[in-house]
């Protein structure tokens, strides 16, 4: 590393502290607000430290709506989305990287279309598709009469199971495996399924971890899709419930901020524990592009 003058260094550290402060401050404000009361918030002189820490705001905020259920919905939807999509993506990635079949490379190229289509554009037709799922939600065999998969867990999960990016990443990762591994396995009489299950899948941990972090964050944070397809309050996810909080009740800022804190703290804890994977996942996205 080159030498920099100490004064210049101090200046740049100060700039960094300033920018980091701007990045973090909204969260500090959120926590501070969530522990105050209305009178404190409306005081002409602002103070970041509350007079008393009013933790009672949290149970109060959670009493508006069934937050245990919203959390359960979000966890359920996120877990199934992540498990199904990563399983299917790794299977497809393995096939595209290691199995020989007709049209393999064309099928792979076609699957990359998913990377180029903004999901927002597809929401309307997916809504129509879900409404006409046969035999679901009161529908007859032609998909008429009922709601189909609208307002259901499947409706929240299914559109996110395909993931072209995951397939792409798994394929690239599996291509780096030495061929000798496959040769040895074939000599031992392993089938493709066994090779996938006992060799490829166990060795996929790094790429799995990054994709779990990416996919779980994306699903947990999803707002638009639950907004469109859920109709009853019992199907709400955490994000949707939070977004409706300010519209359904008169705004009490300390409660709104408490609810916001509750909605983001689980994810932040996971982020701090597994930061590496969050960053790695994102970096691979960028470098590969």
């Amino acid at each position: 590393m080159q030498r920099y003058s100490r004064i210049a260094n101090r200046f740049w550290v100060a700039v960094l502290i300033g920018i980091s402060f701007v990045m973090i401050f909204p969260f500090i404000l959120m926590l501070s607000t969530s522990l105050k009361n209305m009178a404190e918030l409306q005081r002409p002189v602002f103070s970041i430290i509350p007079d008393v820490l009013r933790f009672e705001n949290y149970p109060k905020a959670m009493a508006r709506g069934d937050w245990a259920l919203y959390f359960w919905n979000s966890i359920y939807v996120t877990a199934w989305t992540v498990v199904l999509s990563l399983l299917f993506n790794s299977m497809a990635g393995f096939a595209f990287a290691r199995l020989q079949f007709r049209f393999r490379d064309s099928l792979f190229i076609v699957s990359l279309i998913g990377l180029m289509i903004p999901p927002q554009v597809n929401m309307l037709p997916i809504y129509v598709i879900l409404k006409y799922v046969p035999f679901a939600g009161g529908n007859d065999w032609l998909g008429r009469g009922g709601l189909g998969w609208l307002n259901s867990y499947w409706g929240l999960i299914a559109p996110y199971v395909a993931g072209s990016f995951g397939v792409f990443l798994f394929r690239q990762f599996y291509l780096t495996f030495p061929r000798a591994l496959d040769d040895a396995a074939v000599i031992d009489g392993m089938t493709a399924r066994q090779r996938f299950m006992y060799i490829y899948l166990p060795l996929s941990k790094p790429v799995m971890a990054s994709l779990v972090a990416l996919k779980a964050t994306a699903t947990w944070n999803e707002y638009t899709w639950p907004l469109i397809i859920t109709m009853t309050t019992d199907m709400r996810t955490v994000q949707l419930a939070l977004s409706l909080y300010k519209d359904e009740y008169t705004i009490e800022w300390e409660l709104l901020m408490a609810a916001t804190a509750v909605a983001i703290i689980p994810l932040l804890i996971i982020f701090f524990c597994a930061q590496r994977y969050f960053v790695e996942g994102i970096v691979t996205t960028g470098i590969k592009g």
Binding site: P26, Q100, T217
Partner: protein
């Protein structure tokens, strides 16, 4: 050369392995694109469907809300992307100097990216609050009178842009940082021998070497920002007086409030076309630049 011929033989198990992915891919990605196209030529309200030819597309440009949303989306995309990229590049270069506390700074800039747009919007909704919000309180200390921000026709879009820059900078910065670490240090050493200043190194080595990363961030950034919806729907619902309505917000309103499914599908197709044209343009421009460099 390969010892096993067996692996080279065609084998149908491959289809079984890609089947689950392809089913979901076909139903939820390919079919919707085709459906959008078909629906865009119809009048459809989920009950009755009638073929009306190009009428939806003709109506698009007489729809003042849609025209407004195109302008807003363009402005939003341009300013959000420009500032996000400049600030994140600056931050990444700073963080790459190995100053004290670098990991801490990196993590703190990344947190806005991890939290949901809903949560971020809630916090900024409170910060923009005209009477007690922190931003107006701060302005008062400096001696500037408070603004209405999200409720002000002129400032609403700016407010959303500022929040979005804050939200996205960390993500761009992390990718830039990864790009910076791939630049070989001998390039810097060579320019140092030539007597280049710090700024010259950044200008003549760092920025040109980062071009692929910049290109990637730019293309994906255009696509993502052009589809802005969440912040808008949460913070302003497109208001005041349509000052913040965006293209995807219009699609959402037409499809799920007015149930003009055919019309909304036409809007979606137009978005796809615009995004495709922009992407192709950038790719063409990007490769041309590289040709020049080689020659």
């Amino acid at each position: 050369m390969r010892p096993t011929k067996k692996l080279k033989q065609y084998d149908n198990t491959g289809y079984l392995f890609i089947l689950p992915f392809y089913v979901f891919f076909a139903v939820f990605i390919v079919t919707p694109i085709l459906m959008n196209l078909v629906l865009s030529f119809t009048r459809f309200n989920l009950k009755e469907m009638k073929f009306i030819g190009l009428q939806n597309y003709l109506n698009l440009f007489e729809d003042e809300f849609f025209v407004r949303s195109l302008v807003n989306t363009g402005l939003y995309t341009f300013f959000t992307l420009a500032f996000t990229m400049l600030i994140s590049l600056f931050l990444a270069i700073l963080l790459n100097r190995g100053l004290t506390g670098t990991p801490l700074f990196r993590t703190s800039s990344f947190i806005p990216h991890v939290v949901s747009m809903v949560a971020a919007s809630m916090i900024w909704y409170w910060m923009y609050e005209p009477a007690y919000g922190i931003i107006n309180r701060f302005l008062a200390v400096v001696g500037i009178s408070g603004k209405l921000w999200l409720h002000d026709e002129k400032l609403a879009l700016v407010s959303i842009i500022i929040m979005s820059i804050w939200k996205f900078t960390g993500y761009y910065m992390v990718i830039y940082l990864a790009g910076l670490q791939t630049i070989p240090s001998y390039l810097y050493e060579a320019t140092a021998i030539d007597g280049a200043s710090e700024w010259q190194k950044i200008w003549y080595v760092t920025i040109p070497m980062l071009r692929p990363v910049t290109f990637f961030l730019f293309v994906t950034g255009v696509i993502n920002n052009f589809n802005v919806f969440e912040q808008v729907n949460i913070l302003t619902q497109g208001g005041p007086m349509n000052a913040t309505t965006t293209v995807v917000h219009q699609i959402f309103i037409r499809a799920f409030r007015d149930f003009l499914m055919g019309y909304a599908a036409a809007q979606a197709i137009l978005v796809l076309i615009i995004v495709a044209i922009l992407t192709l343009m950038f790719f063409k421009y990007g490769s041309q630049e590289q040709d020049v460099e080689v020659a």
